[in-house]
């Protein structure tokens, strides 16, 4: 088990080293990056929007339910909802959801290319297949996810306001005061740093598992599952490391 983990880490680094060779043609890579921006970012927006609105709503109602002490003002619900969404929900939970959607898609796409010899076809042409298939996905992931996370933050906070207003638990004025009170702009930067790191993890780990698929359709499915599981675990570990390093 230990040796297997070491082997996987070594192979991952060797795979990453292969990504940074000079591209065959920049224009082709540029086109690939544009394609991936749409696939990773725009393709995930619906799911992100839906999840963010509902999670914001739930966070707000649960916070209001738990803050029963008359000493605590009602606008504190807005503070709790805002900070939960900005610090943890949008940059971590949304990225875990993206690991499921984008990660499995990347791993299965590259895995299928491996088992149907499409990667061999690239290699035969003299193309650095790992770079051609993976680098545009990593760059696109890093470029687009901060925007996805920002949209998620906005929609999460909006969802909280909407749920508080509709249910009557948190009046609009209290909620809006809460989300403005004691606002720390650095928290946004922290969330952006996390989203960049997590985007790198999702795209590179998923591509790695897809690229090293051996066998057939069954193994493509297994690679896809591995990509999601390992990306999620590594995201959680790095969530703790980044929080400890930056906020503690």
């Amino acid at each position: 088990m230990f040796l297997r983990t070491l082997f996987e880490i070594g192979r991952y680094w060797s795979f990453m080293k292969g990504l940074f060779m000079k591209p065959e043609k920049f224009r082709v890579y540029y086109r690939q990056i544009m394609h991936e921006l749409v696939s990773i970012g725009v393709g995930a927006l619906g799911l992100v929007a839906l999840t963010s609105v509902f999670m914001g709503a739930v966070i707000t109602i649960q916070s209001a339910y738990n803050l029963v002490n008359p000493m605590v003002p009602l606008y504190a619900v807005g503070i709790v909802a805002r900070d939960s969404i900005i610090l943890e929900f949008s940059p971590t939970i949304i990225m875990l959801i993206l690991a499921g959607k984008v990660g499995s898609s990347i791993a299965s796409e590259i895995g299928t290319m491996r088992v149907t010899e499409q990667i061999d076809a690239l290699e035969i042409m003299g193309i650095n297949s790992s770079g051609y298939l993976t680098l545009p996905k990593i760059i696109a992931g890093i470029l687009i996810t901060p925007f996805v996370v920002l949209i998620s933050m906005f929609l999460g906070i909006f969802g909280g306001w909407f749920a508080g207003e509709m249910s009557g638990t948190v009046p609009s004025a209290d909620y809006i005061r809460g989300i403005q009170d004691q606002f720390v702009p650095f928290n946004i930067l922290f969330a952006m740093i996390k989203s960049l790191v997590f985007a790198f993890i999702i795209t590179s780990v998923s591509a790695y598992h897809g690229y090293h698929t051996e066998g057939g359709a069954l193994e493509v499915g297994q690679s896809s599952t591995k990509a999601v599981v390992y990306s999620s675990i590594i995201i959680l570990i790095f969530d703790y490391i980044l929080t400890q390093l930056i906020l503690a």
């Binding site: 060779m21 010899e117 290699e123 042409m125 003299g126």
Partner: protein
């Protein structure tokens, strides 16, 4: 001319190729024949560098391909065209884009020049009016023809075909065989075809290498095969009644 000198290859301790030496002659269709699981595909993949050999070397017109690193191999690889068993067409690209792919990556041709070249290659394989179709929308025989068109797009000096007739009906197989024959004559390529189809042997076989249990068991011309006194070769080639009758 391609020279394979004393190559051996093992996977997890199991020897698949054992000290194989042979020569694939220029301007001829060279066949690698043998039963399934005897090492034909591994020999082809070792020859083109998709598998690294454990020992021995492969020379492309005197150039020691096995001793080259990834960058040094690039110019040689651009002289190689390969048709994979399943076609290995890129699923996300149309027929036209598949054939244009190597041109996009390695040439500075204008768009109209590339389109002209693509249309020439597709006409050459008797495939017109399929430019805008995706691989999932065309038949197995058409996929093979697109794969051949892509393989010849860069005017290769060496053409490798891994079981080009597998999964095709006898009539389409003959069309593919004739196409390989014509392309070899027209472009003067060194063509290596991996097959266990005896129709291919009679149709296009000029120089034949018979692989048995990972070793080169016999090598010679099509005319010599009829009188060869090699039990394993005869058992394989003349296994069917049609071939037995042909021999008589």
């Amino acid at each position: 001319m391609i020279e394979v000198k004393n190559i051996s290859k093992s996977f997890e301790g199991k020897t698949v190729l054992d000290d194989i030496s042979c020569v694939f002659e220029s301007g001829k269709v060279n066949l690698i024949i043998g039963q399934s699981g005897m090492g034909k595909t591994v020999l082809m993949k070792c020859t083109v560098g998709l598998f690294e050999v454990d020992s021995g070397a492969v020379f492309f017109d005197g150039r020691n391909f096995s001793a080259m690193d990834f960058r040094e191999r690039k110019p040689v690889r651009q002289e190689i065209g390969m048709v994979f068993q399943g076609g290995a067409l890129f699923d996300s690209l149309t027929v036209e884009q598949n054939v244009m792919f190597p041109l996009n990556m390695f040439t500075t041709m204008s768009s109209s020049e590339k389109i002209d070249r693509v249309n020439f290659c597709l006409r050459r394989v008797n495939l017109e009016n399929a430019n805008k179709k995706f691989p999932s929308e065309i038949s197995g025989g058409m996929k093979k023809r697109v794969a051949i068109a892509r393989a010849i797009a860069m005017n290769p000096r060496y053409l490798f075909c891994d079981e080009p007739n597998s999964g095709l009906d006898p009539k389409t197989s003959i069309v593919i065989d004739e196409l390989i024959r014509e392309i070899t004559d027209e472009f003067k390529t060194t063509t290596v075809v991996n097959t266990h189809d005896m129709n291919s042997l009679t149709q296009i076989g000029e120089h034949i290498v018979f692989i048995y249990k990972g070793r080169k068991w016999w090598e010679g011309s099509y005319d010599e095969i009829r009188n060869a006194e090699n039990k394993e070769l005869n058992d394989f080639v003349f296994a069917s009644k049609i071939m037995q009758r042909m021999r008589e």
